[in-house]
Structures are given as structure tokens and as C-alpha cells.
């Protein structure tokens, strides 16, 4: 088997890279593009540390082939902040002390963004349901859920009043 070209819009910019046909999107992001923010915790879709948004849908990038991203739009943790402005979810994670070791944090933030972009009014029950695919072993989830609730409230403020 020989390598194939993947062309995708990643964090707003077009990227072309060569992948093995069996390579996962997570491997492509990390090893070919140097986007190390997506993490591998389990390699089989159980922990969510590798979460990215692929064509608007939240996916475990360890369970997607890199080739499947050809022609797609991908948002990774590196694309959440705008310039030097943290996204409200990132700011809320900091202010709520919602991370300890930080290894699961990129996945949680990407997942929370996918949720709040689609469902800006998600309540605590919905947030807990949506984030159940992301494992955290440090925090007990309390401060993570609070951070997402606070970010939701911040994001619901009309533009200009933030």
C-alpha cells in the first residue's frame, strides 16, 4: 500500500498531508500535522481525549481514518481560541479550576463546544449526558460540569454585552 493525500480544512486553514491508508485521523493530526493537543487515552473510542469536530459532528479521532477527513472541515483544540482570545469555554475551565492534570481537558473543551454550538440552552442533565463519553479521572466532574454551565450562560449573553 502506498501513501495517499488528504486535503482538509483544519482550524480554518487548508492542509494537505500524506497518510498511510490504515492511519487514524488522530495519528494524522499528531504525527503528520504536529497538532499534539488531541490526546490518545485508549485508542478505541472510550475516553474522548481525542475528540475533534468533523464536519460539525463530534467524533473520536482515534476511530476515524485520516482518509475519511479528505475534503472535510475539522476543528481541533488548537482551533478553539481566536488569536489571543480564549473561547468562553476555555476561560470558564480556567476560572472554575475544572482541570487538574489536564490530559482530558482538550477533549472536554471540544465536546462542550460541539454541544453548546448545537444546543445553546443545554441544561445540567443534558450536559452530563453529552459529556459521558469523556473520561476524567482527576476532578470527579463537578467543576467540569460547572465550567460548562458557566460558559453556556456567558455564551448566551447577547454579543457586545460580554
Amino acid at each position: 500500500m502506498s501513501k495517499r493525500i488528504v486535503s482538509a480544512t483544519i482550524n480554518g486553514e487548508v492542509a494537505e498531508f500524506l497518510v498511510e491508508p490504515y492511519e487514524t485521523l488522530l495519528e494524522g493530526l499528531r504525527n503528520d500535522l504536529g497538532l499534539m493537543g488531541s490526546k490518545e487515552g485508549c485508542g478505541n473510542g472510550n475516553c474522548g481525549a481525542c475528540n475533534v469536530i468533523l464536519n460539525g459532528a463530534l467524533v473520536n479521532s482515534c476511530c476515524v481514518l485520516a482518509l475519511e477527513a479528505n475534503g472535510a472541515t475539522v476543528t481541533t483544540i488548537e482551533g478553539i481560541a481566536q488569536g489571543d482570545h480564549l473561547h468562553p469555554i476555555q476561560q470558564s475551565f480556567l476560572e472554575n479550576a475544572a482541570l487538574q492534570c489536564g490530559i482530558c481537558t482538550p477533549g472536554f473543551i471540544v465536546a462542550a463546544k460541539a454541544l453548546l454550538d448545537a444546543e445553546p440552552d443545554a441544561d445540567e442533565g443534558r450536559i452530563r449526558h453529552y459529556l459521558a463519553g469523556n473520561l476524567c479521572r482527576c476532578t470527579g466532574y463537578d467543576k467540569i460540569v460547572r465550567a460548562v454551565i458557566d460558559a453556556r450562560d456567558e455564551m448566551r449573553q447577547p454579543a457586545g454585552t460580554r
Binding site: E20, Y22, R30, N31, G34, L35, M36, G37, S38, K39, E40, G41, C42, G43, N44, N46, C47, A49, T76, I77, E78, I80, A81, L86, Q90, F93, L94, E95, N96, A97, L99, Q100, C101, G102, I103, C104, T105, P106, I109, I127, R128, H129, L131, A132, G133, N134, L135, C136, R137, C138, T139, G140, Y141, D142, K143, I144, V145, R146
Partner: protein, 745 residues
């Protein structure tokens, strides 16, 4: 937060943002597997499919012949003294025997991860399969298959005569428990508990990169809880001088005790030496479950005796801990925790460390204490029921005070147990009645003794009057913040004026592991010491300018002052004067903070609902109460309490190493070894108690560990109140609940 008398701090007790926070919310922070040097080779481990077998022969020829392979190593390649760290060495590459499924037998480096994996498949290992020991009590019996023919049991009377699977028997006795049980008129309750191995479950698998330079300098990047102890282990295993090894700690994605021991580091170093290239090795999740160290499964028999009016008089426990394939996480720690919450005159404990054909255990958050407290705190609950006394009242009646016998027989100095239980009883949770069918409330206490050990830091005063803090304790959950806050408090400056950095083993003095709840405590003492030394040096430099003896200059509340108060200056003003125009100023602080360091008590109140149809237990409400001594950064103290509580909930309700008869772990994935998710737990309420620790300049106690101790027993007590049936085995999963409550028919 509940605060007893404490000084008015300016920085301590506030909740600033952590210095490493932005890197961690943007994906920039560099963890173990994020290291990637040019020309890196990929290493993989060949593991045993058997739980117990003799290695007859290893043939690596086919693997070495595979194109792209750059090296193959086995235990024969280790160059160290075989007597140095034999267990660690044999655990990371087996010698003549494999002792558990997943035991490493060889390793390969190759130009791609895929080729390295293919090469592992081509390594031929011929085994003579032996019968495995999979039960701790059976492994103790005469006639059980022996794991280590040379092992003799360490006992108080000396080593045993015959080979045994019992590593050690620790016997602890205060008073005369046998006599008290036999002769006093006591109400006695007994329990026999059993728990299974559980894993720390850190989300980041082990990952290491090693580069062995031809001049003998070895650099190792690794996600470790202790870069200095890791360096010492690598040195001993490879027989390579410690001063030629530099360990660079990356960010660490969780550890909880599981990232103290080395696994991949010496192997990657050997593979790098063979190939002349950097070698990166990572584990996958199955490797982590099968090939690293979970915490022991246990079998405990305990009994408690009290007078009819509720005075606890005698306690006995026989504690057997599965160490796994080699001597591991020690049962002896349990003897230092199990009965120290109460004033009990007669205590007798027999603790056994036992090898079985499972992975070599490692410490896990308050190691040995949770399973021990699962036993005694259920006995406390049962005693209260039998005596018809409120259980918290029974605890308070017997609670330890200053001077009560504590861990290792040493008197407690300022134990926070009493304040924890008092705050629990005053809490809104405790005062709210729990209503509804199939529901129950449970409480339990926990203790971890907290270690001090050795730490070094250095502090450099910058020309603008800000300071940098150089530390060697890897930051596993916010200690850059908690140390920077202590330095700011010591120097009378703002938190933002301190820039903390975690550095490698060549760049700061010795630091023990980030474990034992010790960094904010022990490294905090080194920070305080370094801060004092900075002030001393600044005072010495100021004296000639102020034309007075250095002894006449005082520093208080962030301000230098001469004897008559005619000259004053803030830290920043003086720093700019003496450093901005003078030679550089760096001061260090190094401490050996000893072993037992005050200890920390925790307590929990939990409400559960048990579904009689399915046996599923739902946590309705949980309040964690814990003595932090002084909470440096209350948010991260709460985080430790909440995280410990939820790990304990997972341990209580669902987690276990589930083995088949051949010693194969049947659930070595996060799908089947299911740790709690957001859906499994409610918000975890916290009450921080502050009974200052007299052994620390700011009164700090370690807070990392005690929170995992109470939930096992607290949940068991709650289930027992909901169902009327006492729970003696973990996990209390739906199957167990249905079996024990007979509702499954």
C-alpha cells in the same frame, strides 16, 4: 469552608488562575507522548500471554531480520548489578519466569510503530506453563504454587524457613486485644471483607523518549511522578552513572501513585543505545491495565469490641493484601491507618503481603487505607446499630484527640478527625432527612498519614522585582499554583509576581516523588525556606546602603524596615535596588521533611438509592469533608476531595480486575473496566475543615489522598441501611447487590 483561628494571609486562601492553565486549555501543554525528536524510532514491548510460566527460550532472529527493525532487547541486555532493584528490573523485562499475563519479555525498536508491533509478533518465546495463584488466601497456604523459589517471609521473628508466597508479615500490637476480647464484657461485631485489584486509571498511558548519546549522556523525557527517583532506578537497572542521566519530566496526565515506578524508561534507553537514535515508547490501554501496577486486592477479617455504653475497647484485624507478582504496595500502610481515628486501648493487627500471578501492584491514592477502612468503618456502623446509638455520636464518643495514639504508635498532634465529624453533623446534608423507599444514608471516616520527604527549589529575583521559582516536583494537579502562592506569601508579593517552572534533574536539587500528598506540604516547606533565604540575602545587600547592621533590618508583611523606621521599602523596591543594579540573586531551599507529617482525616456522608429490580445503586447526594490544615488554593483542595470521592465511588460500585481461571484479565479496556462518567455521579459537595498542621509553617496538610478513603465504607453503609443487608465484597455492582439481597430470583 470552615475555618478555625488562622493568621490573616494575603495570598493563601485566594483562588488565582493556575500558571499552566492556558497551555492546558489550548492543547499546547506537552505530555509524555507529545515529545517527538527528529529521527525518532518507535519501541514496542512483547508481552506474556500466560499468568505463570518458565521461559525456556527466546528467539529474536526473525524479528531482527524484519526490514525497518533497529534493535531487539531482552533482560540479558540490562547491565546493572543483578542485586540492585531485582524486582523492578525483572518486572520491566522478565528474567527466567513470567509471573503474570502482560509481563514484558522483550522489546523492539523500528522505523515505524507498525513495524515494531509486527516484529514483536515475530519474537518466538517457548514457555513451560505453570499453575497460577489467583487468590490471596489460597496463595498463603502450604502447597500453593510458589512464585519465587528464593522468597522467605519476613516476620517479626526473622525470615521463614521455607519458601513462601508471603512476602512479609507485619504484626502490630498495642495493649492486649486477645485478653480484652476474652475477659472484658464487650459487645463484639465482626466482618470478613474481600476486595479486588483496581487501577489508578490515569487517562494518559505511560510514554517515554530516550536518547543515548555516544559520549554516555542519557536523556530521558517521561511522564513521571518523580523524575529524580526515576533517574535513580534507570541508573541502577542499567548500571549507568546517575550523573550521566538527565530526566526531563513532561506534563503528566494523571498518576495517583501509578507513575512512580519505571517501566519503559530503561528499555527505551537500551534500544536507543543499540540504535544510536532517539527511541519513543508508549503504552496502549491494554498495556496499562495488564502491564502496569494496579493496587492490591484484599481479604480482611476484623472484629471490634465495645462496652454497652459505647466505649470502643478492642480491635483486631487480619489483613492480607495481594502484592501481585513481586513485593508491591504494602499492607503495612494499612496498619498505620486502620484504627488511628479512635481512642481504642487494645489494638492487634496482622498484615500480610502476598505475591500472586497478577501485575506487580503499585500505590494508589492513600495506598492500603481504603480497603482497611471498608472493614473498620462498617464495623463502627454495625456497632452503632447494635448499641442503638447514632453512628456519628459513637464516633465522637471515641474520637482521637491530641495525644491519642496515632500511626506507628506515635501520638497524634492536632488530628482533625473530631472537627471533620463535627462539621459533618452540622451540615445541611446531615440535618436533612432522607425519604423514599430503597434509600439509605451512610457515613464513614478515612485517614492517610501524609509524608514529608525531600524537596529542593531555587528562587531568582529578577531585575524588575518579580521572582522565578524553579522546582523539581512534577505538577500533577495544580502545585505550580500552590507553591507560587506560598512563595508570594513568604515574600509579601502578589501571586502574579511569581513565575514557577518545573525543571529537569540537572537543573535543581533533589526532589522526591509527587506522591504521599507531599508537594504542597514538603516542597512548600522548601519554598518557604528559599523565600526566607532570599530575604536574608537582600537584607545583607541592603545594610551597606542603609548604613546599618543587617541585624537592624526587619522584614514583615512585605516591607523592609530599619531600626527606627526611618527607612522602609517594599520587596519590589528593594529588589529593584539591590538586584537591578547588582549581581544576580538566587537562593535555594532544601528540606528533608521526614516521614510521618501530621496526617489528614476525611469524612463522607452519602445517600443512595438501590433499584430492587436491577440491583443498580445510584448516588443521590455526596458530601466530602476533609481537614486541609490550611487550604492554600481552596479550589484545588476541593478538586482533590471531589476527585478522590469519585474514584472511591467507582471502586465501591463498579471497578475490579476481573480474571478468568487462567489468570487472564477479562476487562482490560475502558469499555469493560468502566470508571465513573458524568452520568454516574452527582455534584460532590465539599466542606474544607482547617485544623492547622503544627509541622508546616503555614499549617498545610497534604490533601491529595484522604478523600478516596471514606467512600467505600460510606456507600456500603448506605446500601446496608437501604436494603437491610451488609455488604462485604467489592465492587457492589448490580450482580452482587441482587445476589446478596436475594431480589434476583
Amino acid at each position: 469552608m470552615v475555618t478555625t483561628d488562622k493568621p490573616a494571609y494575603k495570598v493563601i486562601g485566594t483562588r488565582p488562575l493556575r500558571p499552566d492553565g492556558i497551555d492546558k486549555v489550548t492543547g499546547r501543554a506537552v505530555y509524555g507522548s507529545d515529545i517527538h525528536l527528529p529521527g525518532t524510532l518507535y519501541g514496542r514491548i512483547k508481552r506474556s500471554p500466560h499468568a505463570h510460566a518458565i521461559i525456556k527460550r527466546i528467539n529474536t532472529a526473525k524479528a531482527e531480520a524484519l526490514p525497518g527493525v533497529r534493535g531487539v532487547v531482552t533482560a540479558a541486555d540490562f547491565g546493572g548489578d543483578p542485586a540492585a532493584l531485582p524486582d523492578v528490573s525483572k518486572n520491566i523485562l522478565a528474567g527466567d519466569k513470567v509471573l503474570y499475563r502482560g509481563h514484558a519479555v522483550a522489546a523492539v525498536s523500528a522505523i515505524s510503530d507498525l513495524i515494531a508491533r509486527q516484529a514483536c509478533d515475530l519474537i518466538e518465546v517457548e514457555y513451560e506453563v505453570l499453575e497460577p495463584n489467583l487468590d490471596v488466601r489460597e496463595a498463603m497456604l502450604a502447597g500453593a504454587p510458589i512464585l519465587h523459589p528464593n522468597m522467605r517471609t519476613r516476620t517479626p521473628a526473622g525470615p521463614s524457613e521455607n519458601a513462601s508466597n508471603v512476602v512479609a508479615h507485619a504484626a502490630v500490637a498495642f495493649g492486649d486485644a486477645d485478653k480484652a476480647f476474652a475477659e472484658e464484657d464487650l459487645v463484639v461485631v465482626e466482618i470478613e471483607t474481600k476486595t479486588q485489584m483496581v487501577h489508578q486509571g490515569y487517562i494518559e498511558p505511560q510514554a517515554t523518549t530516550a536518547m543515548w548519546n555516544p559520549d554516555g549522556h542519557l536523556t530521558v523525557w517521561t511522564c513521571t511522578q518523580g523524575s529524580f527517583p526515576a533517574r535513580a532506578s534507570i541508573s541502577a537497572i542499567l548500571g549507568h552513572p546517575i550523573s550521566k542521566i538527565k530526566v526531563i519530566p513532561t506534563e503528566i496526565g494523571g498518576g495517583f501513585g501509578g507513575k512512580i515506578a519505571v517501566y519503559l524508561e530503561p528499555v527505551a534507553a537500551l534500544l536507543s543505545k543499540k540504535s544510536g537514535k532517539p527511541v519513543k515508547m508508549t503504552m496502549d490501554r491494554v498495556d496499562v491495565f495488564e502491564g502496569t501496577g494496579p493496587t492490591p486486592g484484599t481479604s480482611i477479617r476484623a472484629k471490634l469490641g465495645a462496652t454497652k455504653d459505647g466505649k470502643l475497647r478492642a480491635f483486631y484485624a487480619d489483613l492480607a493484601y495481594e502484592n501481585g507478582a513481586f513485593a508491591g504496595s504494602a499492607a503495612n500502610y494499612a496498619t498505620m491507618c486502620i484504627a488511628v481515628g479512635y481512642d481504642i486501648e487494645h489494638v492487634k493487627l496482622d498484615a500480610y503481603d502476598v505475591v500472586v500471578n497478577k501485575p506487580r501492584t503499585q500505590d494508589y491514592r492513600a495506598p492500603s487505607s481504603p480497603a482497611a477502612m471498608f472493614a473498620i468503618e462498617q464495623l463502627i456502623d454495625e456497632m452503632a446499630q447494635k448499641l442503638n446509638i447514632d453512628v456519628e455520636t459513637l464516633r465522637m464518643q471515641n474520637i482521637c484527640k491530641p495525644g491519642t495514639r496515632g500511626p506507628m504508635g506515635m501520638p497524634h498532634q492536632a488530628p482533625g478527625h473530631e472537627e471533620c465529624v463535627r462539621q459533618a453533623m452540622n451540615s445541611e446534608h446531615y440535618k436533612s432527612p432522607l425519604e423514599g423507599p430503597n434509600r439509605g444514608r451512610g457515613t464513614a471516616s478515612g485517614f492517610w498519614f501524609n509524608v514529608g520527604l525531600r524537596s529542593s527549589v531555587s528562587v531568582t529575583v529578577q531585575p524588575d522585582g518579580n521572582v522565578s521559582l524553579i522546582e523539581g516536583s512534577t505538577d500533577i494537579g495544580g502545585t505550580r499554583a500552590s507553591l507560587a502562592m506560598q512563595l508570594a506569601e513568604t515574600l509579601g508579593i502578589a501571586y502574579d509576581d511569581v513565575t514557577p517552572t518545573v525543571v529537569d534533574t540537572d537543573s535543581v536539587g533533589y526532589n522526591d516523588v509527587t506522591a504521599g500528598s507531599r508537594v504542597t506540604f514538603g516542597t512548600g516547606m522548601a519554598v518557604y525556606e528559599a523565600g526566607k533565604n532570599v530575604i536574608k540575602e537582600m537584607t545583607a545587600r541592603l545594610a551597606p546602603t542603609w548604613q546599618c547592621p543587617a541585624e537592624d533590618i526587619t522584614f514583615e508583611g512585605g516591607t523592609f524596615k530599619n531600626a527606627d523606621g526611618s527607612k522602609t521599602g517594599t520587596f519590589k523596591e528593594i529588589a529593584q535596588a539591590v538586584v537591578g543594579r547588582g549581581p544576580g540573586l538566587t537562593a535555594s531551599g532544601s528540606v528533608n521533611a521526614g516521614f510521618l507529617q501530621g496526617g489528614g482525616f476525611a469524612h463522607a456522608i452519602v445517600d443512595v438509592e438501590v433499584d430492587p429490580e436491577t440491583g443498580k445503586v445510584t448516588i443521590l447526594r455526596y458530601t466530602a469533608i476533609q481537614d486541609a490544615g490550611t487550604a492554600i488554593h481552596p479550589s484545588y483542595v476541593e478538586g482533590q476531595m471531589q476527585g478522590g470521592a469519585v474514584q472511591g465511588i467507582g471502586w465501591a460500585l463498579n471497578e475490579e480486575y476481573y480474571y478468568d481461571d487462567t489468570g487472564r484479565m477479562a476487562n482490560s479496556s475502558y469499555l469493560d473496566y468502566r470508571i465513573p462518567t458524568t452520568l454516574d455521579v452527582p455534584m460532590i459537595d465539599t466542606i474544607i475543615v482547617e485544623v492547622p498542621n503544627p509541622l508546616h509553617p503555614f499549617g498545610v496538610r497534604g490533601v491529595g489522598e484522604p478523600g478516596i478513603v471514606p467512600p467505600l465504607a460510606a456507600i456500603a453503609n448506605a446500601i446496608s441501611h437501604a436494603t437491610g443487608v451488609r455488604q462485604t465484597q467489592l465492587p457492589m455492582n448490580p450482580r452482587r447487590i441482587l445476589e446478596t439481597t436475594n431480589n434476583g430470583k
